[in-house]
């Protein structure tokens, strides 16, 4: 605790040096949240998102697949811009593998923007797919879905879009979807992230 809060320089270099030590990442995320983040009431955030979803449902006449897609698309364009803020705020280097990526997502990114730390579990044997378990989700606090929406609507689908857009900007082409949601009566909210491929750095064509 002391080393984390009093000397950000050593912490920074520690993170840069060995990103693998997940404990320092956690402290790193907390420091950014505590010292470098302007905050807003989470309930305000919840009710704003609720208004958006309910407007979408009425616009698409309760065609929840369309609502899911639209939320995903919206999240994606947010993620594309959110990543800039994230990198500027955290100054983290590139991750070498998906294990590191998952740690950064759960311990730093979710912490810094939503003040939650999802668990990472269910690794595939090839280490290219994992699950994020969201015990708390500020988007869906106080939310209860009507019967007809419970089967089809992924209420927090915007999060999948945000992750998709943000990861795309760091050259990771991923597939992200919800597996379960407490709002649908499941035991917990689980989000699946699967790496399709690592996008290549484009090299400009030679002048000749």
């Amino acid at each position: 605790m002391n080393t984390a809060s009093t000397n950000p320089n050593t912490l920074q270099s520690g993170v840069l040096g060995g990103i693998s030590s997940s404990k320092s990442l956690k402290a790193f995320g907390e420091t950014i949240w505590k010292t470098k983040t302007a905050k807003v009431n989470a309930e305000l955030f919840t009710l704003t998102y609720g208004s958006i979803v309910s407007q979408l449902c009425s616009d698409y006449q309760r065609d929840f697949n369309k609502v899911n897609n639209q939320l995903f698309a919206m999240g994606r364009s947010i993620g594309v811009r959110l990543i800039e803020d994230f990198i500027a705020r955290s100054a983290l280097p590139r991750c070498d593998n998906m294990v590191q990526t998952s740690e950064v997502i759960s311990k730093v990114a979710f912490k810094v923007f939503l003040n939650i730390t999802p668990h990472v579990t269910n690794w595939s044997s090839a280490k290219d797919a994992f699950s994020l378990i969201l015990d708390e989700n500020p988007l869906s606090d106080f939310v209860e879905l009507p019967m007809d929406a419970m089967k089809e609507l992924w209420y927090s689908n915007i999060l999948c879009g945000v992750l998709k857009g943000a990861l795309e900007m760091v050259q990771l082409d991923c597939q992200i979807w919800f597996v379960s949601d407490v709002l649908r009566g499941d035991a917990h909210t689980e989000m699946k992230v699967k790496l399709n491929r690592i996008l290549k750095d484009e090299i400009p064509a030679g002048e000749d």
């Binding site: 302007a38 807003v40 989470a42 959110l82």
Partner: protein, 269 residues
């Protein structure tokens, strides 16, 4: 006598400051999220509304097309499937249009489409506003007494508490004629501060920022409605850009125009 009075009023004052203090502690203890996340969500509403409008139009037009298809079914099945697939791909691509393209599209849209989009933004704002009232009623602010609020007090509540909650600042200036017309001035409306453009802004640029102001208009309407100004009362909110007063200190990267909300509440009896 005087001494008595003093000792009588002091504990009362203490009571009030104590409540204030408690309220402040309570506010600080509430769960929080990053303001960046909130702001991005709020601003993404504009491209979202454009995209919904496009999709709805696509849906209705594709239904018309498929109706024609069935009436003149001469094509072979494979061709039909192909065109269907193409259609689907088109819709998917449209859904994934980047935000800046959608905003550009809104700028170029015709009047009826623009009205639809503005209407949708205003509706979302309205919903946020009505729910926000509940949030602020139940947070036990010792300074607010909703049961005895007249229109002016409600407008003050919007300027002070609502704006503070939403944008972290108060409205800069409130003017009224005491007959239901209010002017609310915000010289650095937070959600558009990132759009600050260099030097003199053109008419075109202002027009592209305009849709972002529909949301707070809706919010004001929603709050007024949830506090009883609806039905018998005609509530009209319009918004315009104003110049920032000369005596105000302006930070260099600030959006160079202020915002003026004109709220008109007329009682029709």
């Amino acid at each position: 006598m005087e001494g008595n009075n003093k000792s009588g009023s002091e504990p009362q004052l203490d009571e009030h400051t104590k409540l204030q203090h408690q309220f402040k502690l309570f506010q600080e203890s509430l769960p929080k999220v990053s303001i960046v996340a909130y702001q991005l969500l709020l601003n993404e509403l504009v491209p979202l509304s454009v995209s919904i409008e496009n999709n709805i139009q696509d849906m209705t037009s594709s239904i018309e097309v498929s109706d024609e298809d069935t009436s003149t079914e001469t094509e072979t099945e494979t061709e039909c499937e192909l065109s269907e697939q193409l259609e689907r791909m088109k819709i998917e691509e449209a859904a994934l249009q980047p935000s800046h393209k959608l905003i550009q599209e809104l700028y170029e849209a015709n009047d009826s489409k623009r009205d639809h989009i503005y209407e949708r933004l205003s509706q979302i704002g309205f919903q946020i506003g009505s729910k926000l009232t509940e949030l602020l009623i139940y947070n036990n602010n010792p300074n607010l007494h909703f049961e005895s609020m007249d229109l002016l007090a409600v407008m003050k509540f919007i300027c002070r508490d609502v704006w503070k909650q939403l944008f972290g600042k108060q409205i800069d200036n409130l003017k009224t004629n005491h007959r239901g017309t209010f002017y609310l001035f915000d010289y650095d409306y937070q959600p558009i501060q990132d759009f600050s453009l260099d030097g003199e802004i053109s008419e075109k640029e202002l027009q592209m920022v305009e849709p972002y102001l529909e949301i707070p208009c809706g919010i004001i309407k929603g709050i007024l409605a949830s506090l009883g100004f609806k039905g018998d009362d005609q509530v009209d909110v319009t918004v315009s850009f104003v110049d920032i007063p000369k005596d105000r200190v302006v930070s260099p990267n600030q959006f160079s125009k202020g915002i003026n909300f004109n709220v008109q509440v007329t009682r029709t009896e």
